[in-house]
């Protein structure tokens, strides 16, 4: 094993996340990652690849993606066309087999990291179609009657947004980790990593404001880490003083540049109403 994962300069991993990743590394089992949007699920694979200097293969899943496409695709149509044009390539079926991401990862010379992003977007049967591939790390190519085996079992990171339930048989083969929304301390670390020179007081005010917004009951979409980072980027760019963020300031209804945090006009409206009520009560 080439070292263990401890997070990177740009990515703060909690103790529990590290232990999950390392377990997946040691036992070479796929790791299924869930969590609120914006908690760095997709980033994780990239960062593991950087930290352990392994090549990264990404397979982004869409609602139309089929499991077969990750293995290979047989382009029957162009073979038909070539045969009618008398192209000599047509003799060898290999010319029409397009390798998928999984195949490429299996062929890698060193142990790669393979990201299967947003597996829940695909058809409900999708994970079932990958059971043998993930378990034995091999598959057979029907057209050429060959079997492709992984040279090094890749570290597979699978992310899901919980839009569909994943089948039990699939889950049994994976490790699972749920990325919890970071607490204030972790959040401070994350921001430190992204904005090293940030003024302390601005940071603490911004965080306070941010967690206040998050705790507003009834929000349709709670702001997440990536939105917080965007917002701070804006605050820095606009050079907003920390005083402007102080929430006990009754004249300020809503944090400046809130558009980065609240993405929904109902939420903005709700937030304004709550603040209005607060202000009235304070009087």
């Amino acid at each position: 094993m080439s070292g263990e994962f401890r997070g990177t300069e740009r990515y703060i991993a909690t103790e529990e996340l590290m232990s999950a990743v390392n377990a997946a590394l040691v036992l070479s089992r796929p790791l299924l990652i869930k969590g609120e949007p914006g908690t760095g699920k997709t980033m994780l694979a990239t960062e593991i690849a950087t930290a352990l200097s392994k090549p990264l293969y990404e397979w982004h899943i869409k609602s139309t993606t089929k499991a077969q496409q990750g293995l290979y695709e047989y382009d029957a149509v162009s073979r038909l066309r070539d045969s009618q044009l008398g192209d000599p390539r047509v003799k060898d079926i290999r010319n029409y087999i397009m390798k998928g991401t999984l195949w490429e990862a299996f062929e890698c010379d060193v142990q790669p990291v393979l990201l299967i992003d947003e597996i829940d977007k695909a058809d409900i049967e999708f994970p079932n179609d990958l059971l043998r591939e993930l378990d034995r790390m091999e598959f057979s190519v029907y057209e050429t009657r060959e079997t492709v085996r992984a040279r090094h079992r890749p570290l597979i990171i699978i992310t899901s947004n919980n839009e569909k339930e994943l089948p039990d048989a699939f889950l049994r083969r994976c490790f699972f980790h749920y990325i919890r929304f970071p607490d204030a301390a972790t959040m401070t670390q994350i921001i430190d990593v992204h904005f090293p020179g940030l003024k302390r007081d601005l940071l603490s005010e911004a965080l306070k404001s941010f967690f206040n917004v998050r705790e507003t009951p009834g929000l349709k979409k709670k702001p997440t880490t990536s939105e917080l980072l965007d917002w701070i980027k804006l605050l820095v760019a606009e050079d907003i003083p920390p005083e402007a963020l102080r929430s006990d300031d009754a004249r300020k209804l809503i944090p400046p540049l809130y558009g980065a945090l609240l993405k929904n006009e109902q939420d903005v409206h709700l937030f304004e109403q709550l603040l209005f009520l607060n202000r009235r009560n304070a009087r």
Partner: protein, 391 residues
């Protein structure tokens, strides 16, 4: 030891299998999970739990099983703080913060208080303003913003005091027996939609035809697929007013989700129980009622009937003619419900009351019997079951 834990988990409702236990043992054998109870907790959770909804159940089972063992760990862990805290404080505190500490009576005094707190913490700690590590008003802990705060339970410290992560039960609200939002309901209802795509293959599958033709070397091989039409028809009857007031929000969510999910959705309201009249618009319930008999005639047997109500009322409202709270009903609600159920063989009753309370309400039990048990709680799991029953 772990076998007992394994069965405890299964008892607690975490769906673990032998494969997963073996994986955990394999992981332990290869040296993972060494270095403190918390590591072991994380490792075992990674291996055994595959759904964040079960995290809470896992936490509880873990706490129950390892209670004694953890106390032993706690004693070891408590011996460390003095040295470690001082070292960490150097790293964590800025000059200003140190000045602030001075203002509070100096580092030693702060440490003394902290030690006292740690002593107190040997007993079980549940919330409160003193408990170190969960923020709040205490100057000790990782969550506070006050400069005089001492960060304990920071990420990198493996000797976090007694490591009761599982006791905090942070995942309690992810358990799927709690209520759900519109989006979850939509996803649950979406499962009904799938049934609508079945039928006779009548449409030319262009892609498949080309593919098959090419594969058979140019001989035309036509493929068909069933037409994609959403034929699911839903008749939704919602209880409004009275005891349903407590459940308005969740019913609204169910309704708005259903509305966007089904093209053929007919909804009517009733109060407490179904009688000879229902109404479409709650504001015009008296001016524009719809006769239940007419509804029965209008919508065919292929409609799926979903009743939403808490079925909490006086039993007479079900069994007696004239039992309704609002008007004189010539026939009992029971008779009308039976008619509806006969007319629509695919039917369920979704009840926003928590299932635990069902046994105590007589009218609810009676309704359930009328439905032959096809009553489901308004939770994600309950909705799934309801849709299975409809499909």
């Amino acid at each position: 030891m772990l076998v007992k834990f394994f069965f405890l988990l299964r008892e607690a409702g975490v769906p673990v299998t032998i494969t997963e236990l073996l994986t955990l043992l394999e992981a332990l054998a290869s040296g993972l999970g060494v270095g403190g109870p918390e590591r072991f907790y994380h490792l075992s959770r990674t291996c055994l739990v595959k759904d964040e909804r079960h995290y809470d159940r896992f936490d509880r089972a873990f706490a129950a099983h390892f209670q004694g063992a953890m106390d032993a760990f706690a004693v070891i862990a408590r011996k460390l703080p003095d040295d470690w805290l001082a070292k960490n404080a150097e790293k964590l505190l800025t000059a200003e913060e140190k000045a602030a500490i001075e203002a509070l009576g100096g580092w030693d005094k702060l440490m003394e208080t902290l030690k006292k707190r740690l002593e107190e913490q040997k007993e079980r700690h549940e919330g409160g303003s003193k408990w170190i590590g969960t923020g709040g008003t205490s100057p000790f802990g990782a969550y506070g913003y006050n400069p005089e705060g001492v960060r304990i339970g920071q990420d990198r410290s493996r000797n976090r005091s007694a490591a009761k992560v599982w006791d905090r039960r942070e995942f309690a609200n992810l358990d799927d027996s709690v209520e759900l939002g519109t989006r979850n309901i939509k996803l649950a209802l979406r499962r009904l939609r799938r049934f609508a795509r079945r039928g006779a293959p009548t449409e030319l599958a262009l892609g498949d035809t080309i593919d098959a033709t090419a594969r058979s070397g140019g001989l035309l091989d036509i493929k068909w697929v069933p037409e994609r039409h959403n034929v699911v028809k839903v008749l939704l009857l919602l209880d409004v007013g009275g005891s349903m007031d407590d459940h308005v929000r969740i019913c609204e969510e169910l309704f708005s989700a259903a509305r966007s999910e089904f093209k053929h959705l007919e909804q009517y309201y009733f109060h407490n129980f179904v009688y000879e009249r229902l109404w479409r618009d709650n504001r015009r319930r008296h001016s524009e009622p719809a006769a239940t008999a007419e509804i029965l005639r209008t919508y065919g047997r292929d409609y799926k009937l979903i009743l939403v109500g808490d079925a909490t009322m006086s039993p007479y409202e079900i069994t007696q003619p004239g039992g309704s709270v609002e008007h004189w009903n010539p026939e009992s609600g029971e008779a009308w419900l039976k008619r509806l159920l006969n007319a629509y063989p695919k039917h369920v009753w979704i009840n926003p009351q928590p299932r635990g309370r069902w046994g105590h309400i007589q009218s609810l039990q009676m309704t359930r019997e009328l439905l032959e048990g096809r009553m489901y709680p308004l939770t994600l799991a309950g909705l799934d079951d309801a849709i299975d029953a409809l499909g």
